[in-house]
């Protein structure tokens, strides 16, 4: 059955992408599977200048989840466009550039740089990183600020702009609606929620950054609820993220109305997770004689059924 999904102007070959920060720059998975088979990949968050990131410890495991405080270590947008993007393009990978900045101006500059580089399918604005002191989550909580970043980036590019929602906004729907009005082509939900962990044997906080973003299956029920609410409130597509480890998990998001899903932490547990999710969705569609588009939103009471 047809696996294509359309997100605003962009058509993906299937609804499975990999989540930013959990799939490197996409080239690291060569020996595991052909990344071009996926709907797309979201790059590690790119900033204007390269960043070293936070001191160790940056990660720790929690029940059915993990905390990370990477601090957006990355090669920088320039290096990415020069050294990574050409190879990705050659291989036919659909690339969504996830970007991060601590000012509207820098968001715009990164967008301009990407606009000039062939091979980018969409730009995902990370306005919701919980692990940096400047910018990060502050943007993601404030509807006006989010709208401003969205509009400013839209103004300098033809590329679709996706905005990545922070689950820590008091009123996420309001933030998403502001982005929609400002011209966002889609929203992605959710980024991690800040958590922390203490080692009782030493009495010390485990992460150097104190807090880190919680990801993984632990988060999935919260992500699914937020995606459901956003789908009900928005006209633009919603891309679901949070604890997608299997096709069944991905199906929950699609049934809730997400137009696509991103596989994150799962790639750490199993580097072929995204490929397996893709195959599992295809198998489900075949068994139920449904295209992916027909599947989307089918779990909502307002759908046919």
């Amino acid at each position: 059955m047809n696996q294509e999904v359309t997100l605003g102007g962009l058509t993906l070959k299937n609804p499975v992408l990999t989540a930013s920060g959990t799939f490197g720059y996409g080239l690291e998975y060569d020996s595991f599977f052909d990344v071009a088979e996926l709907g797309g990949i979201c790059t590690k968050g790119l900033s204007l200048a390269p960043r070293h990131g936070n001191p160790p410890e940056r990660i720790c495991e929690t029940p059915a989840g993990m905390l990370n405080a990477i601090g957006l270590a990355n090669v920088g947008v320039e290096y990415f466009c020069e050294h990574k993007l050409p190879t990705l393009r050659e291989r036919g990978v659909t690339v969504v550039a996830n970007i991060f900045a601590s000012s509207v101006e820098d968001f715009v500059k990164i967008t301009e740089r990407l606009e000039r580089s062939p091979g980018v399918a969409a730009i995902e604005l990370n306005v919701s990183c919980p692990n940096v002191s400047q910018g990060g989550i502050e943007f993601g909580r404030d509807p006006a600020l989010c709208a401003q970043v969205t509009a400013a980036c839209k103004a300098v590019t033809q590329l679709p702009i996706w905005v990545k929602m922070s689950p820590e906004a008091g009123d996420i729907v309001a933030v998403a609606k502001a982005c929609e009005e400002a011209g966002a082509d889609a929203v992605t939900a959710i980024n991690t929620i800040r958590g922390m962990s203490i080692d009782p044997s030493t009495g010390r906080v485990r992460l150097a950054n104190r807090t880190g973003g919680l990801s993984g299956p632990a988060l999935r029920p919260i992500a699914l609820r937020i995606v459901w609410d956003l789908v009900g409130a928005l006209r633009i597509p919603v891309i679901g993220i949070g604890g997608v480890f299997s096709a069944e998990d991905a199906l929950q998001f699609l049934l809730a109305g997400a137009s696509a899903v991103q596989v994150g932490t799962a790639s750490f547990s199993d580097p072929t997770a995204a490929s397996k999710v893709r195959q599992g969705i295809a198998a489900y569609c075949a068994a139920h004689q449904l295209t992916v588009s027909e599947l989307i939103g089918r779990g909502r009471p307002d759908s046919r059924r």
Partner: protein, 272 residues
């Protein structure tokens, strides 16, 4: 490398392999041997990410483990410290595991004309024993210093003695000399040795501190928490002496101790 553009050494694969045997040495130490008919080209120093195929949602992440051997019956030596290793320690032959590897770099070649001195702490013996065993056919017999809290913390010391000139220390004096493994080191640090070490961060920092002024090359195998093991999560940084970070999974785990900022004795932020 200071900014994280990490490129792998060799192709890596994730395979599902059944546990072939479990050799348990007391409650804390266990050698797990897997059946891999097609073989794994794993060299001393490299590691594998290990996860039970039936673990479900928790423990979530695979556990990094040094190879104790490669080939068709690759093995690892585990020390029980938390949920993941507890589960591994109870695994029964036939149980399926995901093994992702080989990952990371290998111990560097021993420099011509130098004698290797291996300094092992507890379960850190695994990659060093593998190294010593790989040197034996070349007629190289390292000196090995092996320390633990008590004699119960010296798994595989007999195997190590077969391929090395072994000196043992325990903090409680229950075997070998009483004290820490580092107290034996100064006497050995002449111009014609090279040091290879794996163990608790604090031990490795002390080893590094002894080697540096004497200009003895010291390679440390680092243990940091890892989510992926192959350069994408950026969760395994180690402070670099010149600033910025090295990544244990890609720049290591075997890293020249002189290139690391050992800080307060905890390269990996105190993990070990």
């Amino acid at each position: 490398m200071s900014h994280p553009d990490l490129t792998p050494l060799a192709p890596r694969r994730q395979i599902t392999a059944n546990l072939a045997r479990r050799d348990s040495m007391g409650p804390a130490y266990h050698v797990l041997t897997f059946d891999v008919p097609e073989g794994v080209d794993a060299r001393p120093g490299q590691f594998t990410m290990v996860r039970g195929a039936e673990w479900g949602d928790a423990p979530l992440l695979p556990r990094p483990m040094s190879y104790l051997s490669g080939g068709r019956r690759p093995s690892i030596l585990i020390k029980v410290v938390g949920d993941g290793t507890t589960r591994m320690a109870r695994a029964v032959p036939g149980e399926p595991f995901h093994l992702l590897g080989p990952l990371g770099n290998t111990w560097p070649e021993v420099t011509e004309g130098k004698r290797p001195v291996l300094v092992a702490g507890g379960v850190g013996v695994a990659p060093l024993l593998y190294l010593a065993r790989s040197l034996a056919p070349h007629g190289v017999r390292p000196i090995a210093l092996y320390g633990g809290r008590s004699e119960r913390d010296l798994p595989m010391h007999e195997e190590l003695a077969e391929v090395c000139d072994l000196h043992v220390t325990t903090e409680d004096g229950s075997r070998g000399e009483r004290g820490r493994v580092t107290q034996l080191l100064p006497d050995l640090l002449s111009g014609d040795v090279e040091v290879f070490t794996c163990g608790p961060d604090r031990m490795m920092a002390a080893v590094a501190a002894l080697c540096a002024p004497r200009e003895v090359r010291c390679i440390a195998s680092l243990e940091t928490p890892m989510a992926c093991g192959y350069g994408v999560c950026l969760g395994c940084p180690v402070k670099r002496a010149e600033g910025g970070y090295l990544y244990a999974c890609m720049d290591g785990p075997c890293i020249d101790a002189a290139s690391i900022d050992w800080g307060d004795g905890a390269a990996a932020g105190g993990a070990a």
